[in-house]
């Protein structure tokens, strides 16, 4: 054969180069996934706007003071009880007069569901509340809502809310059980 041998690049060190780069990326890589509790802030209040008037029975007030103590619906409460209390408020299983009014509402994809008419969880904290307590409270409220969503989803679709696959089902459950957390306007804004 008269074919001229083409000159080849020596690829023997290729592995070494790749190893070097590999080790560099191994060292610099951080595998931490950012996780957290997502919330949406309300748009700022305009001066002349008054907060909407909501019936007392539809508001679930949670106050956290500067010593990290909780007051729920006017009474001191332990944070361990908060999840159950929130669930009770949101579902009102015995149709109690002091808990929100429940209505049967038709939601596309779910049929007729018993939902609170306009329940609001009002969360208010002091400037001296510790951040970990605030997050714990937010977490318990979120947990209560997630548990209710799980129950509804289990009943309607036979699987947990977090395991729902179709976007339609997720939206239907979200519509039936929204996250009605409203944070009170801080009162002493501007002063330290």
């Amino acid at each position: 054969m008269a074919r001229r041998a083409t000159q080849e690049i020596n690829a023997g060190s290729m592995a070494d180069i790749a190893f070097l780069l590999l080790i560099f990326f191994l060292v610099t890589t951080t595998m931490d996934v950012d996780t957290g509790i997502s919330r949406k802030l309300p748009p700022p209040l305009r001066g002349d706007e008054k907060p909407p008037d909501i019936n007392e029975r539809n508001i679930f007030t949670v106050l956290v003071n500067s010593r990290d103590k909780l007051m729920v619906e006017g009474k001191p409460c332990d944070i361990r009880m908060l999840r159950e209390r929130t669930k009770e408020f949101m579902s009102n299983p015995q149709n109690r007069e002091d808990l929100p009014e429940m209505i049967s509402k038709e939601i596309p994809g779910l049929g007729i569901v018993r939902v609170p008419k306009n329940a609001v969880i009002s969360l208010k904290n002091d400037r001296g509340t510790s951040y970990k307590m605030y997050i714990a409270v937010q977490n318990e409220l979120a947990a209560a809502i997630n548990e209710l969503r799980d129950e509804l989803s289990q009943e309607k679709f036979g699987r947990k809310y977090s395991e729902l696959l179709s976007e339609k089902q997720i939206q239907a459950v979200q519509k039936a059980i929204p996250v009605p957390i409203s944070e009170a306007e801080p009162e002493n804004i501007g002063e330290k």
């Binding site: 590999l22 951080t30 944070i79 970990k132 997050i135 937010q138």
Partner: protein, 160 residues
């Protein structure tokens, strides 16, 4: 005529390593794709609080971070909680400018998906966080995320 002579197998067999670079390259690409370079050096101490009901932050390129905690060099800067934006300390009044610059850095169609992640130390008092949140509301950055550590169960005893 036998063009190729069968080599006589003798002694120790060597493993064919010609595909080694390919394997290494595969690993290399994996790490290159998954790696996230830390853009900022933290100058405040941050230990996020615990939570169980956490969500993953999607689309990291659309997240801007605000760090709040005690300065790491407490001898130089004291122990009063401070806000860190990008690589330096900032005041609450610097937040609108920060949000504006973060918005401008993103594509116009994606601006409404920007999330602000609050990375706050668990021992910080809510006062400074409330101020930051008010400032974010005024700037129109409504989507926020409280950065937390995922745990199986919150130990309520350590809250007090």
């Amino acid at each position: 005529m036998a063009r190729f002579k069968r080599e006589k197998k003798s002694g120790v067999q060597t493993i064919n390593t010609s595909s080694l670079p390919d394997i290494i390259f595969m690993l290399l690409f994996f790490f290159m794709v998954t790696t996230v370079m830390r853009e900022v050096t933290l100058i405040v101490k941050i230990k996020p609080p615990e939570a169980t009901e956490v969500q993953k932050l999607e689309r990291k390129s659309l997240v801007s971070y605000i760090y709040i905690g005690e300065p790491k060099k407490s001898k130089m800067f004291g122990t009063k909680p401070r806000i860190q934006l990008n690589d330096q300390f900032a005041r609450v009044s610097d937040i609108p400018a920060f949000i504006t610059s973060e918005r401008q850095a993103r594509d116009e169609s994606e601006r409404k998906f920007i999330t602000t992640s609050l990375k706050v130390d668990e021992n910080i008092k809510m006062g400074i966080v409330t101020d930051v949140k008010q400032e974010l509301r005024k700037s129109g950055a409504f989507k926020i995320n409280y950065s937390t550590r995922k745990v199986g169960k919150i130990d309520f005893n350590r809250l007090y």
